[in-house]
Symmetry: C3
Subunit: 203 residues, 3 copies
């Protein structure tokens, strides 16, 4: 037995109808968060665009700026196909800056969030990665985290990660983060544009 | 206050009933995906069986075939109990072939999917592992990913991983993957049978 | 179009009302698990408190007791800010004991669960970590797993991890685990108090 959640003209209308139908309209007065689930893939309950800046430690002179460093070396499989290797097996731990615009924060400016987690390269024949991290928000706009994971299929212009959970202002969230490589500078900097759409929220 | 989702004879019946009840039957005409949640643990909204082939790099002569390689060595805890060690702390990155039958693809044959992620061994006293990976589908049948994680309790004949998210054709999926070691060849090959059942789908 | 799940005085009342409304009251007789979702953030469908004990291998003389060991060393970024370093990039694999009270199990006493997974340190300026692991239950009370992930923001007194999935007795669970450092002994032992609240259950 399966159940399809009721589609409706708007969540408020459904809510009111259900409250009336169940004779429980008074319940809407309590102050806790209430579950809100999108019944359709084209209407997220929350949406935002953020930029992730990964500044990789170059092993020489960027310790002050670097936000990411390799915790493991590429394996021998990495060089079996390409002369320079594809970093197969290199795992990078990061505490990256996340911003609303494309620019890095200047001076005292606070980032929109930090991205804390890791990625590793996982293909012999080409660059391809896998990510898992938390977006950690501690700003006027938001306090809380979003937890993400998924394949970063670098041959594709855009690729989708899963938002598998959230805390604080993003209590119990689920959704999709569509990422796109927005800029790169050699081996030691890349910027990802992240279009995040949540389909399960508590509001 | 908790809400139980309505059980019903079939999802289509419920959908129609709810649409009629809410006077919104016209909404069914739009082309986006709609959320479908199983109300019962014995009726998944989608089901499939796949085989994962892990060919571990042996450090010598199988770079052409290998799809996995250790990114870290076993720790000293690995050898504290068993003479040969239990690989405690060895983390293996993989880009494994996934097939519908038990055989590896031959010639130009496309795999059903790739499994990209890692596992590591995490027990002193015996072999025991932990997995997280994406099933990456790029075939005629499916485009998209499923994201999995969980304990691979190798002492048990079958063990359950969580499907915590999905993208593309598996948009927002959740479910369970029951895995079973289907074949092994020494240290450098194993095949997992994966029975995947999804209980949250968008269709 | 979005759908809000119906709030109600109690899940049983809603279930009965919906069953009656849909003319399917007989369906309640089957033996499989049924989905139960909390509509409100202050009423979890399940709740428990557990303690996680991490005994880190000290490289010398605690192989018998140790349940965790570093699989990677801190990166060079670790020492750029603090003289002793912040372990940036050190990844620790663990198979930790989990108990209902604060004490470690004595003699033949069974732990409430094992916690199998890893954490790594990910900040240059201070101690900060990221966790992912499975709580593996194999006791009289429970059989099954809960899968968790999230940022361990060590500057905060409490921090929330996401419970992103579950198996067995925790089939398809989702929720929040609020953790707090309950005790530490030097570098090689810490105990986390975990308040786990599930908001999606199958019962």
């Amino acid at each position: 037995m399966k159940t399809m959640q009721a589609p409706a003209a708007s969540s408020k209308i459904v809510l009111v109808m259900l409250l009336l139908a169940l004779g429980l309209a008074g319940a809407a007065a309590d102050s806790s968060r209430r579950r809100l689930v999108s019944s359709s893939s084209d209407e997220p309950c929350k949406q935002m665009t953020l930029y992730l800046h990964d500044i990789l430690y170059n092993g020489v002179n960027n310790t002050a700026n670097a936000t990411a460093a390799p915790a493991t070396k590429p394996t021998d499989l990495s060089t079996s196909h390409w002369s320079n290797g594809t970093f197969f097996g290199m795992l990078v731990v990061f505490d990256d800056l996340v911003t609303e615009g494309t620019a890095l924060p200047v001076g005292d400016e606070e980032p929109a969030a930090r991205a804390q987690g890791f990625y590793f390269y996982d293909k012999k024949e080409s660059y391809n990665a896998w990510f898992t991290f938390s977006l950690v928000f501690d700003s006027k706009a938001y306090k809380g985290t979003l937890n993400l994971m998924g394949a970063d299929l670098m041959d594709d212009e855009t690729r989708d990660l899963s938002v598998v959970g959230g805390t604080g202002d993003f209590f119990m969230a689920r959704g999709i983060a569509t990422i796109r490589t927005d800029a790169t500078e050699g081996y030691f900097y890349f910027r990802l544009k992240m279009d995040i759409k949540l389909y399960e929220c508590y509001v």
